[in-house]
């Protein structure tokens, strides 16, 4: 698409004096980071934050799996186990998966892809990060104040009765919700108002489309979660009775409110991942995307349909049978736009010039894992099947195939893809490929056995189990250890690359979207000359091969 001839010209002219400054080194000192309005620095702070949250959540997961090595449980008593799996869920969902891709990679790349100098509302962007930080501090405080053992879903009435720090974690989620809302709001405005001249809607990269659809969900669904956790807090503080059956309230109403947000939230999590994959299959196959408009519209379709299906989380909750029929029926419709995406990605790779470098390997791993995660979702959407599988490890395996296997892997893929852009250095490709293989094997070893034991009736969230399930649990625990090795390796070579990585190329992978046409790493306002877009998107005939062989200064 988007060549930007002036940019390349300007480079040549300004090379001597512009060579030294980019967004990383143009200013230094604590306040140059803590008070920055630069979307790239905010993105980087998000990246550090969500990575720490991911490693904490991962540690909790490791503890859960180690505990389940033995049928009677190995590490904790039942109450502690409840807290640990809740911490795993709450940290992963609210502090990692929801903010991860929009907050870090989205902030970093979206304005670059649009040819903008920054997001539309930079101060709101910084506020969003500090709200995230406040939420993280509150969540940690909740652990200190006695923890919480409700599961990440905070179902009433249990969450009203348990003697734990539910109000604190509720407040954390309220704050994190507004962090998410402000990111989404910012992206919508940026996409509408700050596109470079010539960058029409259908010349936007698909990562932008995906983030746009995500943002709509963040803005429209998250407020309902906000009021829901607020009502739970009120309920605990002064017993209003809205969700408390002792006082005439209806816990099913809580579930309606909660899932009105939390089902769309599933797509808040996965749509950005779809966006990354759309980008990467094209760049690393050097081929325009098959079905560009279909993928773009399917993001919007998923966003809208996701508001109509939340009741499929409540098939065993006492919801009316007719509502369950409707929700189950509507659920199948989500599969259509999702399958359109999966087929389009595969069709894009077909007969492409495939470069099997590490971002592409993560992408291929995503395509396989997401096919399993998505299809098992259709199985669970069927009302009568779900009655059997509800709250079993089958559900656990399904959403980990989507959340961990698809979203986290897409996040890793995007991280590897834009790493040379962000830092101007390359990690060790050989180690990256090995780590990707280990993660893929470890992930499947962890969660495939969970499908089997789930379909045989192993319920989720139990601290102990009958010995029949021991082989599956053992396989799963071995898997998570392999997974940990892979992720540890990834963290190692990524961090190591910052200190001794080789210089990356100006355009490491041969992308033709605007994010690859600005200098690497980008300077403060991204482009030396405001770009103008004259080509269609993913038009690889415009690729400047020289930028792929020119190392960054």
């Amino acid at each position: 698409m988007t060549t930007n001839v002036p940019v390349i010209d300007t480079h040549a002219h300004h090379a001597p004096e512009a060579g030294g400054t980019n967004y990383l080194n143009n200013r230094s000192g604590f306040w140059s980071w803590a008070g920055t309005l630069d979307h790239k620095r905010i993105g980087l702070m998000y990246l550090v934050g969500v990575s720490i949250a991911f490693l904490c959540g991962g540690l909790f997961a490791l503890l859960v799996r180690l505990h389940l090595w033995e049928p009677k449980g190995m590490l904790f008593d039942n109450a502690q186990y409840n807290q640990i799996f809740t911490l795993h869920g709450a940290f992963m969902v609210f502090l990692f998966v929801i903010p991860a891709i929009p907050g870090s990679l989205g902030n970093m790349v979206l304005p670059l892809m649009l040819g903008a100098k920054d997001v539309a509302l930079p101060r709101l962007n910084l506020l969003s990060f500090y709200l995230w930080l406040t939420g993280a501090v509150l969540a940690t405080l909740a652990i200190v104040l006695g923890g919480f053992d409700t599961g990440w879903t905070f179902y009433t009435p249990y969450s009203l009765y348990t003697q734990q720090a539910v109000v604190t974690i509720g407040l954390a989620i309220f704050v994190l919700g507004f962090s998410s809302i402000f990111t989404g709001l910012n992206f919508i405005v940026t996409v509408h108002k700050l596109r470079a001249p010539g960058l029409t809607w259908f010349r936007m990269p698909l990562f932008v489309w995906a983030l746009y659809a995500t943002s709509l969900l963040q803005v429209l669904a998250t407020p309902v979660l906000g009021i829901t956790v607020l009502l739970v807090a009120f309920e605990r503080l002064y017993h209003i009775g809205i969700f408390d059956p002792r006082l005439g309230g209806d816990p099913v109403l809580f579930e309606h409110f909660f899932w009105f947000y939390s089902h769309p939230a599933v797509y808040i999590m996965v749509l950005p991942a779809f966006g990354i994959i759309s980008e990467l299959v094209s760049v690393h196959s050097r081929k325009p995307l098959f079905g560009y408009k279909l993928i773009a519209f399917s993001s919007l379709a998923i966003a809208i349909i996701s508001f109509l299906v939340w009741g499929h989380h409540m098939f065993t909750s006492g919801q009316s049978t007719y509502a369950m029929f409707a929700f189950s029926f509507l659920t199948f419709f989500v599969a259509i736009p999702t399958a359109i995406k999966e087929f389009s990605w595969v069709a894009t790779i077909w007969k492409g010039s495939i470069a099997l470098n590490s971002p592409m390997l993560y992408t291929l791993a995503f395509l396989i894992i997401f096919a399993i995660g998505g299809l098992t979702g259709v199985i669970l959407g069927a009302l009568n099947v779900d009655i059997h599988l509800h709250d079993t490890y089958f559900v656990v395996a399904h959403f980990h195939y989507v959340m961990m296997g698809s979203i986290a892997l897409a996040f890793f893929a995007g991280l590897h893809h834009w790493w040379p852009k962000m830092f101007g250095v390359m990690y060790d490709e050989f180690l990256a490929k090995i780590a990707c293989a280990i993660i893929f094997i470890g992930f499947n070893a962890t969660f495939l056995p969970q499908f089997i034991m789930g379909s045989r009736g192993m319920p989720r969230r139990y601290a102990t189990y009958v010995p029949d399930y021991a082989p599956y649990h053992a396989a799963s625990t071995v898997g998570v250890i392999i997974l940990t090795v892979g992720i540890g390796m990834m963290v190692f070579y990524l961090v190591a690359s910052l200190f001794q990585g080789k210089k990356a190329m100006q355009n490491q992978w041969g992308g033709v979207t605007l994010d690859w046409l600005c200098p690497t790493p980008p300077p403060l306002e991204n482009f030396d000359v405001p770009p103008k877009v004259v080509h269609e998107v993913y038009d690889y005939s415009t690729l400047d091969y020289q930028s792929m062989q020119t190392p960054v200064r």
Binding site: H256, Q319, S320, A326, D468
Partner: protein, 140 residues
């Protein structure tokens, strides 16, 4: 893309708000008329609530409130003269809110029908027994 890029900074004196785009500046008389309409509608809504129309009372009260809200949105909030995207954004919030209302309330409304569904008991239900606390149960 926002396409009205007109020149700015030096030629716009005396044109109210021209530099921030072409803004509609409403007349004071119009604002006063809207206020009077809102106050009259408040009177009507109080009056209507004094009369018993049965279940229609709720509909009447909500209809009047919606008219009042529309007046505030269209005139006080200038939505009538705002850009298409701003209209869509604000009005779509009501659309998505209605989804919450419709599904949540229809769940409750249809719950009473559940008892009317005839449950066909199959033999399986009678033959099934609680598994004993035997660690070997379920071994095939």
């Amino acid at each position: 893309m926002s396409a009205h890029d007109h020149s700015h900074g030096h030629d716009a004196h005396g044109h109210g708000g021209l530099q921030m785009g072409h803004h509609h500046i409403s007349s004071s008389a119009m604002f006063l008329n809207v206020l009077i309409a809102l106050l009259i509608l408040t009177g009507i809504t109080v009056g209507a609530s004094r009369v018993d129309f049965g279940p229609a009372n709720m509909l009447i009260a909500m209809a009047i409130a919606s008219v009042k809200a529309s007046l505030v949105i269209a005139f006080f909030m200038h939505v009538k003269w705002d850009t298409a995207i701003n209209k869509i954004v604000f009005l779509s919030s009501f659309l998505f809110l209605s989804l919450l209302f419709i599904f949540t309330l229809s769940d409750h409304a249809t719950r009473r029908l559940d008892g009317e569904l005839t449950v066909r008991h199959t033999n399986v239900q009678y033959q099934w027994t609680q598994p004993k606390a035997d660690p070997n149960h379920g071994k095939h």
